[in-house]
């Protein structure tokens, strides 16, 4: 049941009606049941995995509550982390490891392979669960004693399969001090859902067709213009797909009275890769910062340690996305760029200068190059496409003119949001302005949305 299907909206309406009409005490039960049902619509068996991980982390945290600081408390943490990373490692990385071992021993690539289905959203809910246990261990988070509340934190359907990765303190603050959303919040939530749908169906899925055609057979589209347009099509697809999903998740949660953190802040307007990572998948980048980069030492032990920590963090961040060398290289590439920017002391400025549009374009180019590794089927394909970006005849752009105009309009809206914040102002704007915006979004969705087969969200595979 994908967010952008009629089935999901029917499901959500039922949840809303039950949540707001039944007694308040039943609310968390309704949300938990709805969340498990939502997950089981994908694959009923794997809900057991969520039960198991929920049980382990809940128990680990309860132990920590009883144990004084020291070895036993640490043992509970290690047990929890081992379980989370063990499941994640098995489901996500076993075959990658097996293929590499097979390669080392010169045996067929699938010699040790298992037929493993990757449970949807495992990377997200394990990271969310781990952050809770680590925070409890650090004493930064109170232990949740009610397992229903904890289970809801892990399985809450708006963010279960692709984030944002919500910190426990934010979620439980909402849950324990829940109040019905006011009119502004519902208007904002509705706006986010509609806007997210527009991003997904009208832009991401349009560019998915172009990107799929290019990456399926790059040789069939000769010329560097074709290569750049294919790669940029994927850059746009992944951003509008993931941020569209996130907008919907945040909007749906807000309508239910929960407040998720911002996950994207116009990342393609970043003037450096450092800034890009402050704007892209913020809930993951801050997770990596708080639970990996800083524990590794952060920037506290000199320049070279900082570079090493940046590199390690991004390599693991890459591996988090997927089990292949492409993702490792993608992470390494970003780690290297972050280290280089630090070496060159490239600073972020609040105000924009005359040359900043050029920096934005350059940063977008660098990010787009990284997406080649993310999207290409193999390392060999990635290298081939990278070569095609800078060599050969010019070829022709794969886009239609109207798609270019559509993207320029989106860029203009992003620039206006950056400087003026029109989107956040809309819920407070006069009724006609808010209603006009929703109407125009719906109309664009009706005309430009790709309403054929529902294209899954890119990040659902992680």
């Amino acid at each position: 049941m994908l967010f952008h299907t009629p089935q999901f909206f029917a499901f959500f309406v039922v949840v809303l009606v039950l949540f707001y009409t039944l007694p308040r005490a039943a609310g968390r039960w309704i949300l938990l049941a709805a969340s498990y049902y939502f997950y089981m619509c994908w694959n009923a068996k794997f809900v057991l995995l969520i039960f198991v991980l929920t049980g382990i982390d809940y128990t680990a945290a309860m132990w920590m509550r009883r144990l004084p600081a020291g070895g036993k408390r640490k043992a509970a943490l290690v047990m929890s982390l081992s379980a989370n990373l063990g499941f994640l490692g098995f489901f996500k990385y076993y075959n990658f490891l097996a293929a590499n071992v097979a390669w080392m021993f010169s045996v067929p690539a699938d010699a040790f392979a298992l037929h493993i289905i990757l449970p949807m959203g495992i990377s997200f809910h394990t990271f969310q669960s781990m952050s809770y246990v680590i925070d409890v261990y650090r004493g930064e988070q109170e232990v949740i004693t009610d397992i229903v509340d904890y289970a809801l934190y892990i399985a809450f359907f708006p963010q279960l399969v692709a984030g944002p990765i919500v910190r426990a303190r934010h979620f439980f603050a909402d849950l324990y001090h829940w109040r019905a959303p006011d009119a502004r919040e519902i208007l904002r939530g509705t706006l986010l859902v509609v806007f997210g749908l527009l991003k997904k169906l009208a832009i991401a899925d349009q560019f998915a067709r172009l990107a799929d055609a290019f990456f399926r057979d790059p040789a069939a589209h000769p010329g560097y213009l074709a290569a750049w347009s294919g790669v940029i099509a994927f850059s746009l697809q992944i951003f509008f797909d993931f941020s569209g999903y996130t907008d919907m998740a945040i909007g749906l949660a807000q309508i239910l009275g929960f407040h998720f953190p911002e996950n994207f802040r116009r990342p393609y307007l970043a003037r450096s890769i450092t800034e890009f990572w402050r704007r892209w998948h913020i809930s993951l980048s801050t997770w990596l910062r708080d639970y990996l980069y800083i524990p590794l030492g952060g920037n506290r032990h000199g320049r070279w340690h900082t570079y090493r920590n940046l590199m390690l963090t991004m390599l693991l961040g890459g591996l988090w996305h997927g089990a292949s060398w492409n993702f490792v290289i993608w992470g390494g590439y970003h780690g290297a760029l972050l280290a280089i920017e630090r070496l060159l002391s490239i600073r972020e400025h609040k105000h924009w200068s005359l040359f900043d549009p050029l920096r934005v374009a350059f940063t977008f180019g660098l990010a787009s190059i990284s997406w080649v590794f993310f999207r290409a089927a193999t390392l060999r394909d990635s290298i081939y496409i990278l070569g095609r970006l800078f060599t050969g005849p010019h070829g022709h752009i794969l886009w239609w003119h109207w798609q270019l105009w559509f993207v320029l309009a989106a860029l203009l809206l992003a620039a206006l949001e950056e400087s003026w914040g029109w989107f956040e102002r809309l819920p407070d704007a006069p009724a006609w302005a808010y209603a006009s915006a929703i109407a125009v979004f719906l109309f664009c969705l009706e005309l430009i949305g790709f309403s054929g087969r529902a294209v899954p969200f890119v990040y659902f595979q992680f």
């Binding site: 208007l187 509705t190 009706e446």
Partner: protein
């Protein structure tokens, strides 16, 4: 908050209506799309000048072999001027909405010709759940059609699709609109050309000049010998139509046909328009094991009730010859000519004998 959300929906439907219910977008529909094709036919008919003659309109699908150019040759004799909205692939459900479009007040035509494959309730397919009808009819559907049109589909998936075509026109035109955005100039030029010349093109269109003369069927061995010019796909089609067993009698089809043919008649109740039903020439050869006629079939029931004129069932049997067909189902140019002459003459006779006609 409800005001804002309600206003948003209202504005959205207003935008949708402005673009798709004012006729503007329909004028730039891809002329070769199903909806565009049907619109072209309807526009030709709507713009056809009404003279002092009796106006006779034909509905039907591609098998309706009436060539108005030929039928009009007999105007002086029959006193009738012929128009057609016979569009390939349409079914009685489409005819209902098409007639409503070209004859909103039920007063334009002296007679409407309704061609059928059979006077029995039989068909090659169950048309009740035919999705293609939605594609054809999208421009013609109004909000008030919602229950009638949507629930004429038995499956929920097609009901949803039908509701979409009634309520959210933009969604139904989505592919067409995106194709328009890809080549806007070409589309506009084509649409203009079509508007200017479609009548002439369609009126003077020449049908298949080849014929199936020389074909023979061995019903026992289930083999067909066909002329060499016929393309492989057409050969297969002929073999399929002639040799494969027809689907069994379907109560669904009877229900469907009864519903829509009756709806058409009900719409014209009280008008002076007469309905003339005819059985089309069945094919270049006729299957030997034709089932006996069903006296209680829909159209015989209508005729018995005096609601329609049923032309003699075997009136066009003489045209069921290979030399008058271009394939297994369609008359060729010569067949169309002969059929049109016969039909026009018979319609003239029927209307001349009817009391109170012009």
């Amino acid at each position: 908050m409800p005001v804002r959300l309600g206003l948003a929906l209202l504005l959205f439907f207003a935008l949708d209506a402005l673009a798709f219910r004012t006729g503007w977008y329909v004028s730039i529909l891809e002329p070769n799309s199903t909806a565009g094709f049907l619109e072209t036919y309807l526009n030709i008919e709507k713009q056809r000048p009404i003279g002092r003659y009796r106006q006779v309109l034909a509905v039907g699908d591609s098998r309706m072999g009436l060539k108005t150019r030929v039928a009009d040759l007999l105007t002086a004799e029959t006193g009738c001027s012929f128009g057609t909205i016979s569009v390939p692939g349409t079914t009685p459900r489409c005819w209902y909405y098409m007639l409503r479009e070209v004859d909103p007040n039920c007063d334009r035509y002296t007679a409407i010709l309704v061609p059928l494959d059979s006077y029995d309730d039989r068909s090659w397919e169950n048309q009740a759940d035919r999705e293609l009808d939605i594609n054809y009819l999208t421009p013609l559907l109004r909000v008030s059609d919602l229950p009638g049109f949507v629930f004429s589909y038995p499956s929920w998936s097609n009901r949803a699709h039908a509701a979409e075509a009634v309520l959210l026109k933009g969604l139904s035109y989505q592919h067409d609109f995106q194709a328009f955005l890809e080549h806007p100039r070409t589309r506009l030029q084509f649409a203009r050309l079509q508007e200017e010349h479609a009548r002439e093109w369609y009126y003077n269109a020449v049908w298949e000049r080849h014929s199936l003369a020389g074909m023979s069927v061995d019903w026992n061995a289930k083999t067909v010998a066909l002329p060499a010019w016929l393309a492989p796909a057409k050969r297969q089609e002929v073999e399929h139509v002639l040799l494969d067993d027809p689907p069994p009698y379907s109560a669904d089809f009877a229900r469907y046909r009864r519903h829509w043919l009756r709806a058409i008649l009900d719409r014209y109740r009280g008008s002076r328009t007469r309905f003339i039903y005819l059985r089309l020439p069945r094919g270049p050869v006729v299957r030997p094991e034709t089932p006996p006629p069903d006296p209680a079939s829909t159209v015989r029931e209508f005729a018995a009730a005096g609601r329609i004129v049923l032309l003699p069932e075997h009136m066009f049997d003489s045209l069921e010859r290979p030399e008058l067909f271009g394939d297994a189902l369609h008359l060729n140019e010569e067949g169309g000519y002969q059929f049109s002459m016969m039909l026009a003459g018979e319609v003239g006779r029927v209307l001349a004998s009817a009391p109170g006609d012009r």
